[in-house]
Every structure is written in C-alpha cells, then in structure tokens.
C-alpha cells in the first residue's frame, strides 16, 4: 500500500490500513523513541501511543507533509513528554552516579539494547555512558542528534521534522557533538569504564 492509500483508508477506519501503517513504520518510530528515552520497553510503549494518536487524528492530517515526517514529530514530542514526566524515576542521574556505581561494584544494567548476549559488560557500560551524555543535551540538540544518528535523516529532513531552518539544524548538531565530546572526555578522565 502506498502512503496516500494508507492515509485514505485510515481515514475510513480501515484496520488493514492501520496494520500496514504499523508494520511499515514501527521500526522508525521505535528507533526514534529509543534514541531519546534509551530504554527499549519504554520506547515500545511510547511507540504504541504514537500509532494510537495517528489513528485517532488521521482525519486532521493534511497531505502537505510526508506521513513519516508526521510520525517523527509525534514520536519526538511523546518521547520528550515521557522524559519530563518521569524525570525523578531515573536510576542514574549523572556521570558521577555512573562512576560511583562502577567503583562500588553496582551493576547498572538497564533494559537497553546492549543486553544482547553477544556484547560484553564493557559495552553496556559504554552504552550507559553514551545515553547519559546524550540525555544531558538540551532537548533540541538531543532531537537533532538522535534523528541524524539513529535514523540517518539528512539535515533537510530534520529541518522539516523540527520545523526549523537548515542552518539551525547544522548549528544544533554541531553543538550537540561538541557537548557530547566534552561529556565523554570528562567520563574518560574520571575512568567511568
């Protein structure tokens, strides 16, 4: 089914069209959510809500933007809202916590994708460190970086999703990388891994 067919049939409440939507776009939605919340189960929960919202509001969808752009937008907003609502529930709040946990021998294995059997424990520590560094970025930098790195979106596509100019996207990603480097260097100096 093409994108326009999916939208047309969704607007009529067609279940097959909804299934087609979910199957075709679940990877990008879950990936985007994971890139922001860094927790597989939470990412899937948020992705479910994204598709439900799409189903409910597809009648208001104007075909002036791509369906994928709309999905990215909803995924980003929902993920950021999730982080804001669950800010106090984080187990590790900073790189200092990570260092402390490492020195006290606490294993901080969260349900991340680094729990793949083939990966070593060191990789899961690296993943935790990377997630902390990305989480510490301001929201707009985090979103731009995630869309670029996790979804391989071009700067133009990111500009459409975030509704900002191309130069703004370039600036955001540049600053995100700079901030990430600083965080990772601090962690490296403190011997996090």
């Amino acid at each position: 089914m093409s994108e326009s067919e999916i939208i047309q049939k969704l607007q009529q409440g067609d279940e097959h069209a909804f299934r087609s939507l979910v199957e075709n776009y679940k990877k990008i939605v879950i990936n985007t959510c994971f890139g922001i919340v860094h927790h597989q189960e939470d990412a899937e929960d948020i992705a479910q809500e994204v598709f439900i919202e799409v189903f409910r509001s597809v009648r208001n969808f104007r075909a002036d933007a791509k369906l994928s752009t709309w999905l990215y937008r909803i995924s980003v907003n929902r993920s950021l809202n999730f982080i804001r609502d669950n800010k106090n529930k984080k187990r590790i709040h900073s790189i200092d916590d990570l260092v402390q946990n490492k020195h006290s021998g606490l294993l901080s294995l969260s349900a991340t994708r680094s729990d793949h059997p083939g990966l070593k424990f060191e990789n899961s520590q690296r993943a935790e460190m990377l997630h902390l560094a990305v989480d510490s970025l301001p929201d707009n930098q985090k979103v731009a970086f995630t869309l670029n790195k996790y979804e391989d979106l071009s700067y133009q596509e990111i500009a459409e999703v975030m509704a900002i100019s191309l130069s703004s996207v370039e600036s955001l990603i540049h600053r995100a990388k700079k901030n990430l480097q600083k965080k990772l260097y601090d962690c490296y100096k403190k011997n996090c891994i």
Binding site: V22, I52, T112, K177, K178, Y185
Partner: protein, 150 residues
C-alpha cells in the same frame, strides 16, 4: 597540534566533519600522541554503540499490543462519553432535591410548638386558681364575713 586542540575536534574527526588539512593534522597527532590516540579509540567505540542500537530487532508482537491498547482505549472513551451526561443532568437534580428537603425540614422544625411553652402555659393555669382568689371567694362573701366578725 596540541592535545587540547585535538580533544576539541576529535568527535568531528571521527565523524568526518573536518576539512582535509585539519583531518591530516589530527591523524598526524594521533600517530604521535598515545594518550590522544587512546581517547580517540574510546570515543570511537562509544559512538559505535549507536550503530548496534539502531539495528536492533523489533518485538514481533508489536502490532498485537498496539491493537489491544487501541481497543482498550476505545472502550475507555465510550465509558467517558456516557459519564458526563449522567453527571451533568442527574447530579444537580440530586443536590437540588437534598437542598429543598433540608430547607423544608428546617421550616418544619422552626414552626413546631415548643414543649417548654406548653408547660409554662399549664403551670400558669395551674397557679391561677390559687392566685385568683376572687373566683373561689367572691368579694361580697368576704365583706359580709368581715362585717359579721366586727
């Protein structure tokens, strides 16, 4: 190139964002400086995590869970749409009735005869025969008795 300058540009070097001359300069320094090379390797491995994470498999039962959630959401919406009508109409009617009953009860209680007043009336009436001697002993009898005694 000094280490500090390298550290500032390392992520851009790894991402391939630097100009050709700057890339060569960083490469040259990394070949010479062990510490910077070690940090570059660490950062490369850390950033490489993203490549692993973005290719992870999706739950095969994802659609089933979405469908179940959608159905439960639709049911919750149905209950929600019924409730407001029930609340909007019956609740104010109920509270108005309670208010009216309360006011009526208050008026009834206010108009009921007082037991204390009734007792007072009875006791005064009881006393009156003793205070009102004239009804039991007319004045003429009293006067004639007085004249008789003298």
């Amino acid at each position: 190139m000094k280490c500090r300058a390298i550290h500032k540009n390392l992520i851009f070097y790894l991402e391939g964002d630097l100009k050709k001359e700057e890339m060569s300069g960083v490469e040259l320094h990394l070949n010479e400086c062990r510490e910077c090379a070690a940090f570059a390797e660490e950062m490369k491995m850390t950033l490489g995590i993203i490549e692993n994470e973005k290719n992870a498999e999706v739950n095969p039962y994802f659609y089933t869970r979405v469908k179940a959630k959608l159905e439960s959401f639709a049911q919750a919406q149905q209950v929600k749409t019924l409730k407001p009508a029930y609340i909007r109409v019956l609740q104010p009617v109920f509270f108005s009735m309670v208010l009216l009953m309360g006011i009526s009860a208050g008026i009834m209680i206010g108009n009921a005869p007082s037991r204390y007043e009734a007792r007072m009336v009875i006791s005064v009436e009881g006393l009156v025969p003793f205070l009102d001697e004239m009804s039991h002993e007319p004045i003429e009898t009293f006067i004639f008795e007085q004249d008789g005694n003298e």
